[in-house]
């Protein structure tokens, strides 16, 4: 088996929108608009890992996923899934996909919808029934298996979407915002499924706005801003490589030392009894440390300050927005 399940290189998608209501302006430029939804996305999803795809709203996550799922044709760039193109039916046989807002035929029942999708994968009737039973139990919908989808809540549809993405026991599971619209119990159920599937050796590629879940679940992440991947790699390495500050705990801080701290630190917290905690950029650290020691301050602790994913995400998003 290849070490890489999904490889995307320099992917771009430009949409051409025709605004017929502006025809009267008689300017072609007013009628035809071009929107670059994805400008340069490159990422590599290794086998057996959980890969998080992050980005603010409108960053191009869903468009990228749709290109990977053969729903949209890229303007340029390449997508390789299991070494082939997304339109290859033998590749689709190994993929399970949950769209951002899963829509189903509301005249069907969960059992019927899973049976239909199972038939499209060519799964035999007995095996289909077994998988349907198992999946409905896993997503907690066994009690509603014969209820019309018209009567389903958003969270129930999301759970059914996850079940439908797993009906073919896929090697690659692509989930677009799988945790949105779920109550805490629903989120836990889906998180548990992701963990179980990873334990089985499956590869999971998913997007989410819920950073705590990404941090908890993912081995590797990509952060996309304005259609461009700004960071990509192992989550721990990304957080480490973005370490640019250190945290120090100081005792016996005089007025003079405090002035220095305020001048050079990004944040300073009074801990009481002339003790302060300060976060200082590494570039300023050596100079500040000498000056503080000269002022009589005592350094109790000094350690690199590692960003949380949220801090990294906010900073990268701000960088991306500033560039544009």
């Amino acid at each position: 088996m290849s070490d890489v399940v999904l490889e995307v290189k320099d992917l771009a998608k430009r949409f051409t929108l025709v605004e017929l209501e502006r025809l009267l302006e008689l300017k072609p430029s007013a009628v035809v608009k071009r929107v670059e939804a994805v400008r340069k996305v490159s990422l590599t999803v290794p086998t057996g890992q959980v890969y998080g795809f992050l980005g603010p709203n409108g960053a191009g996550k869903t468009t990228t996923m749709k290109m990977c799922m053969d729903l949209i044709q890229p303007t340029s760039g390449t997508i390789q899934i299991f070494g082939s193109t997304p339109s290859d039916p033998s590749i689709k046989q190994r993929i399970g996909y949950l769209p951002e807002h899963p829509y189903f035929y509301d005249y069907l029942r969960p059992q019927e919808i899973l049976d239909y999708f199972g038939r499209l994968f060519g799964i035999g009737a007995t095996e289909r029934m077994r998988r349907i039973d198992e999946l409905l139990s896993r997503v907690g919908l066994q009690h509603a298996r014969n209820r019309s989808l018209r009567k389903f809540s958003k969270g129930m549809l999301q759970r059914l979407g996850v079940a439908s993405a797993l009906i073919n026991d896929p090697d690659l599971i692509v989930l677009d915002e799988p945790l949105s619209g779920l109550d805490p119990m629903g989120r836990k159920a889906i998180r548990d499924i992701i963990i179980e599937e990873r334990a089985k050796g499956k590869t999971i590629f998913f997007s989410s706005h819920i950073l705590s879940d990404i941090e908890h679940l993912c081995d590797r992440v990509a952060i996309v801003v304005n259609g461009v991947v700004k960071r990509e790699g192992e989550l721990s390495s990304l957080l480490q490589s973005d370490t640019r500050t250190s945290e120090m705990l100081l005792r016996n801080v005089s007025e003079e030392a405090l002035t220095l701290i305020n001048a050079h630190s990004t944040s300073a917290t009074d801990m009481g009894s002339s003790t302060w905690k300060a976060v200082v950029p590494q570039s300023e650290m050596s100079k500040l440390l000498i000056q503080l020691l000269q002022c009589g301050a005592i350094v109790d602790e000094l350690q690199p300050h590692q960003d949380s994913l949220e801090e990294l995400f906010v900073r990268v998003s701000a960088e991306g927005s500033a560039v544009c």
Partner: protein, 268 residues
């Protein structure tokens, strides 16, 4: 491939059966048949059988064509509008298999509908002694008429699917209906083109436009044999073969265009 097409066809049939528009159309068909024998009471005794025959034929033909347009337009568009297509395309099903599955499912639905309405039509004719004209049974002609109605509705279905793959349901409904109506009067346009006097006799943009219409739109009047039924004229077998070949060619062309358009579409 066949298994996937059949799965899409089964789902299409199931969706159509559970669609309210279909139920309404079946009721309209039954009502039209009923209106036939009510109106026949107003007609002269010699025309009574003809009124029943014509209304029954109209019920089967009109309702099946409208069902083909409405359900054909609604079903594929609903896949796009309700975004159920997002869960379908990533499955190992080719886009042409989706279009063919929809066509097959609708074809099966129309077959059931045409047979159901025809049974009602024959039943009414039997009840009111309209099955015999000039001492000759019209049952053979009725069988041929039902077959031709089915062919016509399959052409209309392929037209509706062709349009619904790339435009909104209202527009595709209008386009399909215009195709259907124009198809029914193509022979009139051909007659006008052949005339030496009249609005289409001189060369000009209007004549060119009508020539294109006549060339593109299938002549659906060949599927209408109400006159043969009314006069008790048997329909020869070769006519049915020719009509089948004619319908088959047009269905292939329209479905082919629909498949190409649907295959190139982005599902944003």
């Amino acid at each position: 491939m066949l298994g996937r097409i059949l799965a899409v066809a089964q789902n299409t049939r199931r969706e159509a059966y559970r669609n309210r528009a279909f139920t309404v159309l079946v009721i309209v068909g039954v009502l039209l048949n009923t209106v036939g024998f009510v109106l026949s009471n107003l007609a002269e005794p010699s025309q009574k059988a003809r009124v029943i025959q014509n209304f029954g034929y109209f019920a089967v033909s009109f309702v099946s064509a409208i069902t083909a347009i409405l359900i054909g337009v609604i079903l594929l568009y609903k896949e796009l509008d309700r975004k159920t297509i997002y869960t379908l395309i990533p499955k190992p099903v080719m886009r042409y298999e989706i279009v063919l599955g929809k066509f097959l499912g609708l074809g099966q639905l129309l077959f059931g509908l045409v047979i159901f309405l025809s049974i009602g039509w024959v039943g009414v004719m039997w009840l009111f002694d309209a099955l015999v004209v000039n001492s000759q049974s019209v049952l053979d002609s009725v069988g041929a008429a039902v077959f031709l109605v089915l062919l016509e509705s399959l052409i209309v279905t392929s037209i509706a699917l062709m349009f619904s793959g790339w435009t909104r349901p209202f527009l595709s409904g209008v386009f399909s209906f215009l195709f259907f109506v124009t198809g029914r009067v193509v022979f009139v346009l051909e007659e006008h083109l052949a005339m030496t006097k009249g609005p289409l006799s001189a060369d000009g943009p209007l004549r060119q436009l009508v020539e294109i219409v006549v060339y593109v739109v299938p002549d659906l009047s060949i599927f209408n044999i109400s006159r043969e039924i009314a006069l008790g004229i048997p329909v020869p077998g070769h006519y049915l073969w020719s009509a089948s070949a004619f319908a088959g060619c047009y269905i292939l062309v329209f479905l082919g265009i629909g498949i190409v358009l649907f295959g190139r579409r982005d599902f944003v």
